[in-house]
Symmetry: C2
Subunit: 208 residues, 2 copies
Amino acid sequence: MPPTRKYEQRLRAKAADQTRRRILDAVYQCLIETPSEQVGMDKVAKLAEVSRSTIYTVFGSRAGLFDALGMDLLHHGGFTDMVNAVLQPDARRGLREGITGNVHMYAARRDVLRTLYSMAQLDADAVGGTVRRLEDGRARGMNDLAQRLHDQGALRDQLTADHAGHLLWLHTSFDAFDLLFSGRSLPADTVATLLADAAEHALCRPGT
Amino acid sequence: MPPTRKYEQRLRAKAADQTRRRILDAVYQCLIETPSEQVGMDKVAKLAEVSRSTIYTVFGSRAGLFDALGMDLLHHGGFTDMVNAVLQPDARRGLREGITGNVHMYAARRDVLRTLYSMAQLDADAVGGTVRRLEDGRARGMNDLAQRLHDQGALRDQLTADHAGHLLWLHTSFDAFDLLFSGRSLPADTVATLLADAAEHALCRPGT
DNA sequence: CTTTCGTCGGACAGTCTGTATTTCGATGCA
DNA sequence: TGCATCGAAATACAGACTGTCCGACGAAAG
């Protein structure tokens, strides 16, 4: 039956938000401190000083928890900054600055993103929705940038805007970053210049 | 106690190899038919028409099973062909042919490799050292190729052999392939030319 | 004071990996 | 033919994990 009395939340809602945040922070902590082990609800509950059942009432399921983590990253993780960096008038400068900004954002959250992306590929439902949202935004941004590079005459001859979009998609991906950052133990700065140079040579006409 | 009687295997060993193969084939089948779901020992056993306990006596553990799968890929999957394609005298031709051969090999085994690589990143022990062996071989091959490109004067000015090795590592990776193949729904041929062109422009001096 | 509801704690079912044990039956040897 | 061997089946079991349910407590809200 519906509640028989009106009820506005003030203090209780704030407290609830805090426990929600404590749980998410516990997940971050798990992923950063022991990235090799898989994150269990029991460990998260203990770290957050929260009952295990509370996680289920707040997030519904393990998938919901990681989905919320993705949303948290999306809103407070600097993903939008990357899109903005790309939007500046000079498309070719946007290319370089977009890639470098992107790389440093990836580097700051490497362990969390690694787990999230790998989970998304192994189990589409688990974190599927969030990662796809993240990547859809990047896809649109890179297609836009490719079109603007084309319009400004910065692209190599015989390279369509479509193909340029594909290559930008590759060069701004987390996997490309991590292949160099973790796979070759390179510092973030080196990865940034390596990727930016590679993208510029692959995309842009040699002049300038 | 040790066996009290000498015992040479003929038919029995052959039969044992066949069940071993049936189990591995069942894993392939799982990964190819339902790549989204995770592979459980029970499903593999049913597909292979084998008792679940048999899988454990043959492979020891789930990790051992996937490790064996990786070894199977390594020996019968065309990984060595890629290395050979790179070894031809003309390093620059080796670059193109290595990348295209690589891409088609990845495309033929996409679902299996996707699962294997993602598992390796989530849980280092899960697939044992197989993925690392695979990748170590590729790393050595790409470093060699980078050195030979350098020695033959094919590299752009101001690009060291080390940096060239990093970029080859990226352009011949499964992730780079899959970002374009699955992430952008491109046919393997397109992926191959896209990656080969990108690598050539990123690495080689513009002439020729 | 009463109602509401976030949180707790625990019990419980279901799934999965991994282990141990027993049994069956075909193969190999004398 | 008779006996030893060993691959495989079948099954029960322990342990870890996710997910559900329910009853209870206590602080905030009316």
